[in-house]
Symmetry: C2
Subunit: 540 residues, 2 copies
């Protein structure tokens, strides 16, 4: 086990000294970006990605010390151990093998003494076959018509990644298939969906590893009542993605098809497993899903083999740690200049905040530095017209910009002010990092821009399935690299347990009152009693 | 003008001392919430809202000092001045009269020596008439069929509030009308819309006060080319909401109808003006829009007249300032337990961060305390399965929970684990603030919950237009009250100017290259040159 007391590491001490130096006026970003060969020294290409960190508040010495920190923390070895199936999720005594789900290598991946790749391939084949049958009409609605609506029932990691990918690749989707997400237990989520679907030609995919998630069960039960009312049955309309032998994989409750998921793949890392594979193959076609997997696999190989200096997710993770622990930023913006990437921030928000929002090391010792940060974002240029006032003149936070080089859907573009819509978008993508970094002096304090606000820019060529796979795996690798630097466990989530337990207690009280209207709520906690009374009185 | 040096105010000094006291172990929230009459003393009702701040890290002394701060800063007087049409937007020498747009009072509102209410009423009448004609088919597509799709072309304040309200009231919408938003200049935004509409029965509403917003112009131009290709014309398919006499209100470019907006209503405060009124009336019917206005008006009156101690947005603003300036939180979560409120956080993010993300006072002196905070959120319970790990065990941030007492769409609800879906939702809404506040001891640090994480809960009765109006006006009043405490100007946004200027420079270079393919990009800035070359080479 690595040392959890980061502050005592010589590399950490050195970085702290660099941080003091970087606050000096001569190290303002407006000066740093004028350094000779700034672009050459502070950007990396690989896997058809371009990662530009010229506008981060670092210089050559900081970069070198960060790379030394990565080496001291052996983070590449850890990534390799993760990929090889070692028990990196120590608190839950599990491996974390999301990388295996997109491996097309002939090499075995061993887990508990068994090669898991045959199982992974079998499930891919099942998805391919099911998707082909779905598109050909071999599997169809009870009236023999093709399924037209697919509803994913799942919450958190069971849908956010899929929603990101489906939105990003929407222009490639089968025009006859609509994809919906029933995540929230709120009946309005269900109400909005049933207005838009035809029950006879709707397929429901219930996704839950344990098949005990309260929200997903409550929603499946509601859908089952809806189907019954329409004279339809789960065996013709339900598909499950769940652990082998879970209540969702029980022959006593027949469904159209069950796909298996494994305990060595965590929810927020599961997009490339059957969790994403089943809905995305129905929406986009299996081949596009496989292209997406190959993009993710490329990044896994890059993360595992590229030298630290040329390793895109590793350098991005080091910059995160630098910004969080040495420059003291507690939040990060994620701003893709692409409407199609509008769901990326919500996915990365979960991926990163649930993985790294921790206060203990992987061996459960309290950390001596803060970990994780708040991640939020909206697409650009929209964000410029929303919260960028605060980014430029209020409290600073680092931003990751994402640019897509070649536009989709530009058949109607002409020129406005002499440029196409896509060029207008790029003029803004280029201007914002510059404005944030350099700022502008002005005698009028209301028009003064302090600058020195750091950002990175990540470029992809276009919105192909392969590039979306690269983007997904980039954020996964970045997240686990951050965790490996801190030596925290990015695969558990004990922080969600207390709320679940308390909700269970309250649920029991409500259930009691449902059974027995004379039941009086416990008055030991007057706030809780107030809410329960209000809930049953239906009036504030 | 009030003093911009807040730190020297006696009330400020007193609050700073309270903050020290509140960090003592005996003032952990798990103890505070057990105080006698905690609920009675730390909650307020009014306008059918219930605002519970029992789980904020405050006690009676803090609350009293906060109220004294509000009085010292004369924030209620300022609200009154704003509502009465005084020039509260000092830097731009304008009034801020969004409250007038929902006034149904017979009293005049004077601006520049004129009563503006007749104009406000005239525009409401025009919206009512246009909406009636739209729904009756008196105004229809060129083929005589009713319009079926309405596309709002606008960015930032020209659409975010409307999107929030439309999503919240979706279940009440005219089932024959679909509402879309074309905000981003990214051609993918346009591409996704044209796949879903029928051009002959689509109405486009272009919203821009100046009619010079680069994104909105570029998008309108793209739509005009699209219409021309389809043999259609702006005079039958375009509606504009813009300033009188702007290029969007020019008889030389005829449109179906122009609605006027005024320079005394800022974009992010404009939902209750024609900006929200035109699209919302077409989508929901004018009467529902007016109901929505009456809810907003109620809160304006409450904010203006309720005593500080019983004033919901004022107390909420004081708590924001307490959390930001005295307890040091730099971000705030906004978590509505309602899918229908899924766009609330994006709206409030703009409203609050663009208004209060400032560093200078209203008389342009540098502030001596930080203002504004990052605002982000997703609906609950979704957020619990996403970033709540960090909220419970990582870095703390205050949260505003929102509960809707009576569900919509619950016709298929039954019981799962003995409770309905809505009750399950509420069990979670009740559990989270409690878990965040009290935490849980555990010998295993990985299962230890520090607690002491503050939150408020705001309840509304249901998703009626009136309650959504109340919610909208609550956040507007809260935002301006925060600004009045700091004495910053919540109505300007100079922070967005530098990026615009730089984008303009880059746009000019791109336009030059479009005209002259031999043009070589200026190589004084190698990073900029790199991006421009990449853009024209179409390859990373």
């Amino acid at each position: 086990m690595a040392e959890s007391h980061l502050r005592s590491l010589p590399e950490w001490t050195r970085l702290a000294a660099h941080a003091d130096r970087m606050t000096l006026p001569e190290n303002h970003l407006k000066h740093l970006i004028k350094q000779t060969s700034r672009l050459e020294n502070f950007s990396i290409s690989g896997c058809e990605l371009f990662y530009d960190f010229t506008r981060q508040r670092i210089d050559a010495q900081v970069l070198k010390s960060l790379v030394n920190l990565a080496k001291a923390r052996k983070i590449k070895q850890r990534f390799n151990q993760m990929k090889a199936g070692e028990v990196v999720n120590t608190t839950e005594n599990r491996a974390a093998l999301h990388t295996a789900t997109r491996s097309f290598s002939a090499d075995p991946v061993m887990h508990d003494g068994l090669n898991i790749m045959p199982d992974i391939r079998r499930i891919r084949d099942e998805i391919r076959q099911f998707s082909a049958d779905f598109h050909s009409g071999k599997i169809a609605g009870v009236n023999g018509q093709l399924f037209k609506d697919v509803v994913v029932i799942g919450i958190g990691g069971s849908y956010l990644g899929t929603e990101f990918v489906a939105t990003a690749l929407q222009s490639l989707a089968d025009k006859n298939v609509k994809l919906h997400f029933l995540s929230n237990v709120d009946s309005d989520n269900f109400g909005a969906i049933i207005e838009r679907i035809v029950p006879e030609t709707t397929l429901w995919i219930v996704i839950s590893k344990s098949y005990t998630t309260a929200e997903t069960l409550a929603n499946s039960n509601m859908v089952l009542r809806f189907l019954t009312e329409k004279g339809l049955q789960a065996k013709n309309h339900f598909v499950t993605v769940t652990s082998k032998g879970s209540p969702g994989d029980d022959p006593a409750n027949p469904v159209l098809k069950s796909f298996h998921m494994f305990d060595f793949i965590g929810g927020r890392y599961s997009v490339t497993s059957a969790v994403g594979g089943v809905p995305l193959s129905l929406y986009l076609g299996y081949d596009r899903f496989e292209e997406f997997l190959t993009g993710a696999e490329e990044i896994d190989i890059h993360a595992n083999t590229a030298s630290a200096e040329k390793n895109i997710p590793l350098i991005a993770a080091l910059i995160s740690v630098w910004n969080i622990n040495f420059l003291g930023y507690s939040a990060q913006g994620l701003i893709p200049y692409s409407s199609a990437l509008s769901k990326l921030a919500a996915h990365v928000q979960q991926l990163n905040m649930e993985s790294n929002g921790k206060s203990v090391s992987s061996c459960a010792e309290p950390m001596d530095v803060p970990c994780g940060s708040i991640i939020f974002g909206e697409p650009g240029t929209n964000a410029q017209h929303s919260f960028f006032q605060l980014a430029h003149q209020g409290r600073p936070f680092p931003i990751e910009f994402i640019g897509v080089l070649n536009p989709g859907n530009d058949q109607y573009t002409g020129k406005s002010k002499g440029v196409t819509n896509h060029q207008e978008l790029w003029a803004n993508l280029m201007a914002q990092p510059q404005a944030l970094a350099t700022g502008k002096d002005d005698k009028n304090p209301a028009r003064f821009f302090p600058g020195n606000r750091p950002s990175s820019t990540l470029l992809i060529n276009d919105l192909s399935p392969k590039n979306i796979g690269r983007l997904l795996a980039f954020y996964e690798a970045k997240t686990v690299f951050e965790a490996f630097i801190w030596d925290i466990n990015p695969f558990d989530q004990y922080g969600v347990e207390l709320g679940k337990t308390m909700a269970g207690d309250i649920r029991n009280e409500i259930a009691e009152k449902n059974k027995n209207p004379d039941y009086q709520f416990d008055n030991r906690d007057s706030v809780r009693k107030f809410y329960l009374d209000v809930l049953f009185n239906h009036k504030i």
